[in-house]
């Protein structure tokens, strides 16, 4: 990654853009939204105003950015806050025309939505209190998606929109259906997000550029290799799932159980456009791929037609608008797909894409908002219940009805709206592309059909409102129940935002110069091909009639006819609605079966599986490299007589283990093999290991014998047939032994010139070198220096594991006091007594040995850095001493000797070790860097290293853990 990072990044370019403005714009909504939580409960109006400040601030920040820097072209618009430069990770933002447009749209609609939600939720304080922070988070996430330059940052914000939208869709937590739909939307878009992540990773790795800006600059040389195509397909799946393209579109109508402000904001104006936005970002990158046009256009066109047809056959306003949105999203995708149709020089066949998107937001959001308003004023959202609304004189319903019709007119793409011109432009680009690719005529037909359905929807909306016979349903089902709240002084906000947005549709449609002055600047930089003109006056298409106008007129005429006819009037269910529940069911069922097949619950089966895998993988390796099976030469089994004899003892003890049946003998045999291993360590010149193992064996034999008393005697029943067991065991043993032989032999045969890690430690154990910035370990005992210095962090983790294990033991076997209250029945009656084992010989011996043990522990702790010893050994020695003391003199005497609970030792030890490790950080040095000093102790110079303090922590932990575990198990036996 680092090797190729130079190409795409903006190293060379001058970056004048200030990232603070962008960051402030992104962060403002969530900050303001969260801040509303600090307000007292009753202050709803204040809450709304504060929440409004968030998107408003974003709007202003983006506006200020636009004012100061203008519309930047690709490379100039990037800005970054460095984070981990070595990994090429930063908070990179790209503020070009596309991003600015989307940011303005998100923030602008965001302001209106905040106000609208006040009227929608009424004065429902708790609901609003919850709503604004979530909405703020969503707005921030959405702004992040469109402004991010670093691809991973985009993915991050992308996922954040999925998460926040999950909360918003399932807003009504008591409504199970809503929560289910929210989960469906989340899983669908979340899986798409994973796909996006995969594509981004592939793309970033293949090109070495992790920035959209860098990709666009280097777009010509990304080629069309398999990786690039795979990356494109994955990213497209991500975009398609977010933008509700077929066959993922089912989540969007399902998400209509969300509160209306959420539907209007997420599901028409912003979030569903994230995929469209991504396609806009990708067009310059992937537009030249031969796959781009057919794939993107196909999915877009299918979605466009399917959505429109389904929308026409819905009777519930929100669902109808949701399918219309699906259709429109398909159109956008199709539009960007057509952008890949080239005529020799670069990208063409795409004009005014941003105006298309803005136009949709300006009529679809109002439609949703009005649907919510009608639900409030009339108490109905179904067409049949709204029949004849105009004549019914429901208070406050006429104004929303007017807006509904005005927005519906824009939906139909009637002349005089931006929508009309936008549709003309789309038809124009389809025709343009079809000129070189005749197959695209199909898309043109589909586009006309989709437009026709939209017109029919508008006709039926009008017929319903005015109660014409061609409308859907009749007044019989009408009701005015639940009409209601929102009639306080915020009531006007129910329709004002919608009115404002729709107004822009007509302003832009009738006076395009205004529109051009706003969006024209942003459009120019989207494509390489500068669009010199502007949105035309609405009469111009009529003055220069052509194929696009003919398509529009055909759609309008046919649409009116369709709307008045009896065709496609019934309410249909979308067959795709079953995709998610069915897959969910299948996954559960077969997952359950597969789980039971694999997870038998028998330890043996798992073990056999693991060992079989080991054997298989080794066999495979041997198959590839048969030299593995050759016996290495130069073996000298008889070079050390003591080693040979100890080895024999180890083997004999191990073989005896399964043969003896008396359990105490088994423990002793296990111990015997351990003690023989101690001898082997000595032969291998490992005094530290030998000491540690010795202490460990002592403690473990004690531990095992203790536990045996607590366990039930085994019942005698027929054993598992030993033959297969034995065969598998012998095979595994042979493989592991053979590997040991090969590895050990290879280590012996290694030439002097081969550098090993061990040599590095040997050279730096005492003094440093250039390699370590002159810092050495300051000790002569290499093993100990490795433990407390080179691998000190590892050791810190290890004693944490020790402490955790001890905590586990203490919590699983809580103290005795609790037992008395009402604890567990004792399986084994207490043996021995709190006074210890009554043996004069033992007591006398311990009295003699105990001080010596402690003395040796101190010596091992102090000299551990230079000679055999160290914290682990000293700790184990201490623990052994304390345990024998306890055995001889009993609990009470032991508690007098060590009056605190061992957990304090563990606590203090861990704190000391962590403190010593972290201390250098305060001095501006790396973690665990050691310092040293020499202390004169009665003539003998004692070399003190800070690592020894670390070792002291290790010692305390080991003592606490060992004594604590044994003590607790001993208490169980009343011993």
């Amino acid at each position: 990654m680092t090797g190729r990072s130079g190409r795409g990044s903006n190293n060379g370019a001058v970056v004048p853009v200030d990232p603070a403005l962008v960051l402030a714009a992104i962060g403002a909504p969530v900050v303001a939204g969260t801040a509303t939580l600090l307000l007292p409960r009753g202050r709803t109006s204040l809450r709304v105003l504060l929440a409004t400040c968030g998107p408003l601030a974003s709007l202003l920040f983006v506006g200020a950015h636009l004012r100061r820097y203008g519309v930047a072209s690709n490379e100039e618009g990037t800005t970054a806050i460095a984070w981990v430069p070595s990994l090429n990770l930063d908070l990179g933002f790209l503020v070009d025309g596309l991003a600015t447009f989307f940011a303005l749209l998100i923030a602008g609609v965001g302001v209106l939505i905040v106000l609208y939600s006040r009227a929608y939720f009424g004065s429902d304080g708790p609901s609003l209190a919850r709503f604004f922070p979530t909405l703020g988070l969503f707005t921030t996430a959405m702004l992040g998606v469109v402004l991010a330059d670093h691809m991973l940052l985009t993915v991050l914000f992308w996922e954040l929109t999925s998460i926040s939208s999950f909360f918003l869709i399932g807003w009504d937590r008591d409504d199970e259906e809503a929560v289910k739909r929210a989960t469906q939307a989340f899983v669908t878009t979340g899986l798409g997000g994973l796909s996006l992540l995969g594509g981004v990773l592939l793309l970033g790795d293949a090109t070495g550029s992790w920035r959209w800006s860098g990709l666009v600059t280097g777009a010509s040389d990304i080629g069309s290799g398999g990786t690039i195509v795979a990356a494109f397909i994955l990213i497209f799946i991500g975009a398609a799932s977010k933008s509700a393209q077929w066959p993922f579109h089912y989540w969007l109508p399902g998400a209509m159980l969300a509160p209306t402000p959420v539907s209007a904001y997420l599901h028409s104006a912003t979030m569903v456009k994230a995929g469209v936005f991504l396609l806009g970002r990708l067009l310059p990158v992937f537009g030249l791929l031969s796959l781009w046009l057919p794939m993107v256009v196909a999915f877009g066109a299918v979605t466009m037609l399917l959505g429109a047809v389904l929308a026409l056959q819905q009777h519930e306003l929100k669902r109808m608008f949701a399918y219309a949105t699906v259709s429109q999203l398909g159109l956008f995708v199709c539009m960007y797909g057509l952008g890949g149709a080239t005529d020799g020089h670069g990208v063409s066949a795409i004009d005014w894409d941003l105006s298309q998107i803005a136009s949709h937001a300006l009529y679809k959001a109002p439609l949703f908002l009005v649907a919510g308003a009608l639900a409030h004023r009339v108490g109905a959202r179904r067409m049949s219940e709204l029949f004849g609304l105009w004549r019914r004189r429901v208070p406050g319903a006429r104004l929303p009805a007017v807006i509904l019709l005005a927005a519906g007119y824009a939906l139909a793409g009637g002349p005089g709206t931006v929508s009309f011109v936008a549709k003309e432009l789309f038809f124009g680009s389809v025709r343009h592309a079809a000129g070189t690719r005749p197959l695209l005529v199909v898309v043109a037909v589909m586009a006309v059909m989709a437009a026709m359905c939209n017109v029919a929807i508008a006709v039926r909306l009008a017929a319903t409102v005015f109660g014409w016979r061609t409308g859907v349903g009749d007044a019989a089902g009408a009701s005015t129940h639940g009409a209601g709240h929102g009639n306080d002084r915020w009531g006007a906000v129910l329709w004002l935002p919608a009115a404002g947005l729709v107004l822009l549709q007509y302003v832009g449609g009738l006076v395009p110069t205004v529109w051009n002055s706003v969006f024209g600047r942003l459009e120019v930089n989207v494509n390489d091909e500068a669009f010199a003109g502007g949105l035309p006056w609405f009469w111009e298409p009529f003055l220069h009639p052509g194929v696009p106008l003919a398509m529009s007129m055909a759609a309008i005429v046919l649409g009116i006819a369709l709307g008045c006819s009896a065709l496609m009037r019934g309410q249909v269910d979308d067959v795709h609605d079953r995709i998610y529940p069915e897959s969910y069911r299948l996954i559960l069922r077969y997952g359950h079966r597969a789980f039971h097949r694999v997870q038998t619950g028998h330890l043996r089966h798992y073990l056999v599986l693991m060992f079989a895998m080991l054997l298989l993988s080794i066999s495979w390796a041997a198959w590839i490299d048969p030299t593995m099976l050759r016996l290495p030469d130069g073996l000298a089994p008889f070079e050390s007589l003591s080693g040979l004899m100890l080895g024999a003892v180890v083997c004999a003890a191990a073989i005896a283990l399964p043969l003896v049946s008396e359990r105490v003998v088994r423990v002793l045999v296990l111990g015997a093999s351990g003690f023989a291993v101690v001898g082997l360590y000595l032969v291998y010149q490992a005094p530290d290991l030998a000491l540690t193992q010795l202490m460990f064996e002592i403690i473990s034999v004690i531990l095992f014998l203790l536990v045996l008393r607590l366990l039930p005697r085994p019942d005698r029943r027929p054993r598992i047939s030993p033959a297969p067991r034995l065969v598998l065991a012998v095979l595994v043993g042979l493989v592991v032994g053979w590997m040991t032989l090969l590895a050990g032999h290879a280590a012996e045969q290694r030439g002097e010139e081969v550098a090993t890690l061990g040599e590095f430690f040997e050279e730096h154990s005492l003094h440093g070198s250039e390699l370590t910035d002159g810092h050495g370990g300051g000790g002569r005992n290499i093993v100990n220096v490795i433990l407390v210095d080179f691998r000190g962090f590892d050791t810190l983790g290890e004693i944490t594991v020790l402490a955790t294990a001890a905590l586990g033991v203490w919590s699983m076997l809580p103290g005795r006091r609790r037992h008395r209250d009402g604890g567990f029945p004792r399986m084994v009656p207490g043996v021995g007594s709190p006074a210890g084992i009554d043996s004069l010989i033992l007591r006398t011996a311990v009295q003699l040995v105990f001080p010596l043990t402690m003395l040796f522990a101190v010596y091992a702790a102090l000299k551990g850095h230079d000679g055999p010893g160290g914290g682990f050994i000293a700790g184990l020695v201490t623990a052994v001493g304390l345990c024998t003391y306890r055995m001889a003199f009993g609990q009470r005497a032991f508690h007098r000797l060590l009056p605190i609970h061992p957990r304090w030792l563990v606590f203090v030890g861990l704190s000391v070790a962590a403190g010593v490790a972290a201390l250098p950080l305060l001095l501006g040095q790396p973690l665990l860097r050691s310092g040293s000093a020499t202390l004169s102790l009665g003539g003998e110079g004692l070399h003190l290293v800070s690592a020894m303090a670390f070792d002291l922590g290790v010692l305390l932990v080991v003592v606490g853990v060992a004594v604590g575990m044994i003590g607790r198990l001993g208490e169980e036996l009343n011993w």
């Binding site: 330890l603 000298a636 050390s640 592991v736 040991t740 290499i782």
Partner: protein, 136 residues
């Protein structure tokens, strides 16, 4: 010397695998601890034979005169031994608790007592997994 170790490792691993495949939890525990020895011996074999080709011995890894043995495997094993100790204490405590709560250490009986998962209609829940907690 490596040959001797290899044979020891073979025997130890064979016995411990044999023990781990038994149905008695105590035998399994012994197998696990024995396996620890086998692994440690296998690791120390990586430092090569302590006997020099000329007949002399390498010195322990404490700076001084002479050729030292490789210290790294020793450091790794020292860590392993101590961790082994913690694992052992934890494992044995689990044995005690299992015996106390179920009255048996026989794996087959334990498997019968705790089927892994409930019905397919249920979504996996926190308490659905196999677990013989303290409170049972």
């Amino acid at each position: 010397m490596t040959t001797v170790l290899a044979i020891c490792v073979t025997v130890i691993v064979t016995v411990s695998v044999y023990l781990m495949l038994s149905r008695e939890l105590k035998s399994i525990a012994m197998g696990v601890f024995l396996l620890g020895h086998g692994a440690n011996l296998s690791i120390i074999a990586m430092s090569g034979s302590p006997v020099l080709p000329g007949g002399g011995l390498r010195q322990p890894p404490i700076l001084g005169d002479g050729i030292l043995v490789d210290a790294l495997p020793q450091a790794l094993i020292l860590t392993a031994i101590v961790i082994n100790f913690a694992v052992m204490g934890f494992f044995l405590t689990l044995l005690v608790l299992t015996a106390r709560n179920t009255g048996t250490l026989n794996l087959d009986e334990l498997a019968l007592e705790d089927p892994p998962v409930a019905s397919p209609e249920l979504e996996p829940t926190v308490d659905g997994g196999p677990g013989g907690g303290v409170g049972r």
